[in-house]
Symmetry: C2
Subunit: 211 residues, 2 copies
């Protein structure tokens, strides 16, 4: 209560209206980029879905590419924020991995449109003007994953495995979820995350015989 | 020697010329779909890269969508042919999985343009007119993967794991390779496949204590 300024009657009605339209613009364009592809969606498609004039969209953003950038950075920052928080916790590397797999899986499943666009439509050619920023965010997240695996190796919990490669294997398992996940399906995000962690940790932990 | 008809001087020169152009059309469009995206590539881009008239392309194919279909089905049939062959071999389920991971990884790494298009540009909206055929091929391959895991469970080699979910985890690890693989990088396809198999089999095999 009271967190959203517009909740107080009469306060900042214009900003509130602007925020609602911006949120709707973001939601609708994410959905259209997922359904028709980024290249297959025109500003006209977006304005038609919002029932506003195409020219009105330019009050909120400068270009379709800016929309893709906002969507992608939102998705990547959600992952990064959770990753940074988890890797700083005072828990074992295996527990960190478990939490990271859970957080990443839930974020994808609960924001399926957003992450389908972020993981499928975000190609070097679609995101040419801000590709460096994307690579920087991706590198930061990959570094967090590798850091946890590396920590587990040092502590003797994980076997001697290339953390860069193991990180790619784990991120592939999780990111591929956008290709088959059905929100109405029989598996919950928590169940998927638990199974993914079980498979991955079983594959990288030091076997009792190795100790 | 003698396998390619055109090797024999004067034999089928017209067909040979047509075959060369068709192969080039296929190669160039695959590369452009990867670099600029399927939607971002026009027939004009393709004809310019081939240094032929745009109208000439229509001697070989009817539409850009037909090109995407040919590329996608080629990739999927390469996977399927190998998958069918491997699953019919008289070897253990673990050996079948190892061979399948190796075959799938090598096919992706050695045909990176083809599989980047097949795995990234092949969306329900880009492939609307032949989506059912794509789903049918995908389902056949997933069934092979699940069948091997199921066989391993029955024989007691793998633990009680949901073969559908485990299959998604494995295919995610492998298919995600298109996102980071660098043909000039330090890891060979065989090394990647060996590591992927090691991680996955470590995660699904029955632990000695379970026996």
């Amino acid at each position: 209560m009271g967190i959203v300024a517009g909740n107080v009657a009469g306060e900042r009605p214009l900003d509130e209206a602007k925020n609602v339209t911006e949120r709707e613009l973001f939601r609708v364009s994410t959905q259209l980029f997922k359904e028709k592809g980024y290249r297959g969606t025109s500003m006209r498609d977006i304005s038609a879905a919002l029932v506003i004039k195409t020219s009105s969209i330019y009050h909120y953003i400068n270009s379709k590419e800016e929309l893709l950038k906002k969507i992608a950075l939102k998705g990547m920052n959600m992952l990064l924020d959770a990753g940074k928080r988890i890797s700083a916790e005072q828990i074992s590397p295996a527990e960190k991995l478990q939490k990271l797999v859970e957080s990443h899986t839930k974020l994808i499943c609960e924001n399926l449109d957003l992450f389908t666009v972020t993981l499928r439509e975000l190609t070097p050619s679609n995101a040419a003007s801000f590709w460096e920023e994307i690579v920087d965010h991706r590198d930061q997240y990959e570094k967090i994953v590798r850091g946890i695996i590396s920590e587990g190796k040092k502590l003797g919990a994980f076997r001697e495995i290339d953390e860069r490669m193991a990180g790619f294997a784990l991120l592939g398992m999780i990111n591929w979820i956008i290709r088959w996940y059905n929100p109405g399906g029989s598996k919950s995000p928590a169940e998927i995350a638990a199974l993914w962690f079980e498979i991955f940790i079983g594959g990288i932990k030091r076997a009792p015989a190795d100790k």
